[in-house]
């Protein structure tokens, strides 16, 4: 296999979820190792880059911090394209932000599909866990089951403030992104070794590069 030739990988990762759940704080903690309660509200999108060493390779994570305000929604969805993974964040102290999680997930899946037709790897973050676990305990929600039913590859209780579980959640996401990338490569390889001549289709040149 040729995959070992890569010395560097770049992945675009979306960070989405309701307004004020701590998306920017999680990213700042992860990338810059600090925390402030006064980060500005994101308008549109902000970027951050995290460089990881992963199995002797360099992995660059381009984190897209997307504004949570609903009203910007149909403007900011254009930023989803070409993402390989996503965090969906909610605030454990605000039940409404958890209720919005399925909405964010459905929205993501409806706008973004990998070339093999699968959805991008998504990890659920229950942020501000230093401030209580009301949403998680009171509703009797079984998070594992919730993740399975909604297509999350995993979930973590996080605190950007106290630096809890953020590296772990990111590693989990990267692991799944790499796995899904391999999966895509395999499906592409199998495409190339079983070429089929379909005269009736008569596509143009550009359609040769389309996956379906």
């Amino acid at each position: 296999m040729q995959t070992n030739h890569h010395k560097e990988r770049l992945y675009k990762i979306l960070v989405i979820g309701d307004l004020g759940v701590g998306k920017t704080s999680i990213i700042k903690r992860y990338v810059h190792h600090n925390f402030s309660p006064n980060y500005r509200a994101t308008i549109g999108v902000d970027f951050a880059l995290k460089v990881l060493n992963w199995d002797q390779e360099t992995v660059r994570l381009q984190l897209w911090d997307i504004a949570g305000q609903e009203r910007f929604g149909n403007m900011t969805r254009v930023y989803y394209r070409e993402a390989m993974g996503a965090f969906i964040v909610f605030d454990v102290t605000r039940p409404a932000s958890f209720e919005a999680v399925t909405k964010w997930k459905e929205d993501l899946d409806s706008k973004l599909t990998l070339t093999n037709g699968k959805h991008v790897a998504t990890v659920l973050l229950a942020n501000k866990c230093d401030q209580g676990r009301d949403v998680l305990t009171n509703n009797g929600i079984k998070m594992e089951q919730f993740c399975q039913e909604n297509g999350f590859v995993g979930w973590y209780e996080t605190s950007a403030k106290e630096n809890i579980n953020i590296d772990e959640a990111a590693n989990c996401l990267v692991k799944h992104i790499i796995a899904s990338e391999k999966d895509m490569l395999q499906s592409e390889v199998s495409d190339t070794i079983t070429p089929q001549l379909e005269k009736d289709k008569g596509g143009t040149c550009s359609s040769c590069f389309r996956s379906q």
Partner: protein, 438 residues
Amino acid sequence: MINAVFSKVTNYIFDAFRGTEEQHQRPPEEVADLLGEVIPGLEINQQEEPGFEVITRIDLGTRPQVTRREPLSAEYWIKHQDAEGRMIRIPHLKQTIFKGGLCHAIRKEAWKFLLGYFPWNSTLEERKALQRNKTDEYFRMKLQWKSLSEEQEKRNSRLRDYRSLIEKDVNRTDRTNRFYEGIDNPSLVLLHDILMTYCMYDFDLGYVQGMSDLLSPILFVMENEVDAFWCFVSFMDQMHQNFEEPMQGVKTQLIQLSTLLRLLDLAFWNYLESQDSGYLYFCFRWLLIRFKRELSFQDVLRLWEVMWTGLPCQNFHLLICCAILDSEKQKIMEENYGFNEILKHINELSMKLDVEEILQKAEGICLQVRGCKDLPAPVSNILGFPTEVFISDLTESGPKSGPGPGPRPQQLQDACSSVQEHLRESSSHNGCKVAFIS
């Protein structure tokens, strides 16, 4: 060799423009067609002879060199008041403010005129009376939300939502600025109370993220709750559409910007289009909050006061966008940036821009475009240039608009819808289509 594996995005452009009434997936070429309906792309007349393209070249001519001047001083301002306090030589004052901005000492007074809170021809006495009335009116509205009991608020989910948004945003608005820094800073209370009172002033709009960014410099300059509120109200009159539900204000401006850019720099626009970026989404934040996040706080004050003069043309802020893009296009094209890189590059210009340089370039573009004969009507409409009228000397013609801070919302709306109509028309007709080449 596999360099990168990308996921495919579906529907994103379509949904962004049309809402989400249709959810099925569309192939990219179909999305491009749909987008073409909203932002008409380059149309080429193929009517005459098939195989030949009739392209009308519009010669923009060279861009005039312009210079910026010194900020207007407090003494100069006071010299332009008559015995009863009426401002005199108003067009000249506006022109001076346009060319150099204001010294900080006079901002507190001059902004009230620029924003339309004070009429330019009012006497000092009239302004005192106005302020008394506006103070009463403000506190009456403030009392409306202040006096709600907890029980009442429990039954008022919209007000509750507004309040929670405001509380979240006030705590993260310009907190590194000395005026807003630290815990229990009284300026934060003012920011909060003004935004809450604005909800009572315009309950339909209420509070939308971004509005605290528009208020913060105004409160910083006014250092007074009531004056800041009414100046904010005036500014919001101009910006209202940006925050309304389907975000029509920003979308209209993106379409207008696209029209301007096609005239000014077709090659660059074509490049952006080839990278699926022809709809200029990367300018979203610029437009939504008028460059508030792109410039240092002091430079925002300068840029805004210059724009509030309403000079040198309508929608001057769109030419400011063009000026910034003009400075970045070489880098973007040379580096062959794609969709993601363009967005990232533009986003990261924040705090690296020089306000005087941008203003200088944007004014130059304005003069260049205004001097161009046979300007396409949509462009004239966007910039508010008279159509079908020969314009002679531009630099000396001075301001033509009456008092007030530029176009009012209704006028703006009319201008926008007429441009949109025009664009729709020109894209649906197969007749005479014109390509602009600069």
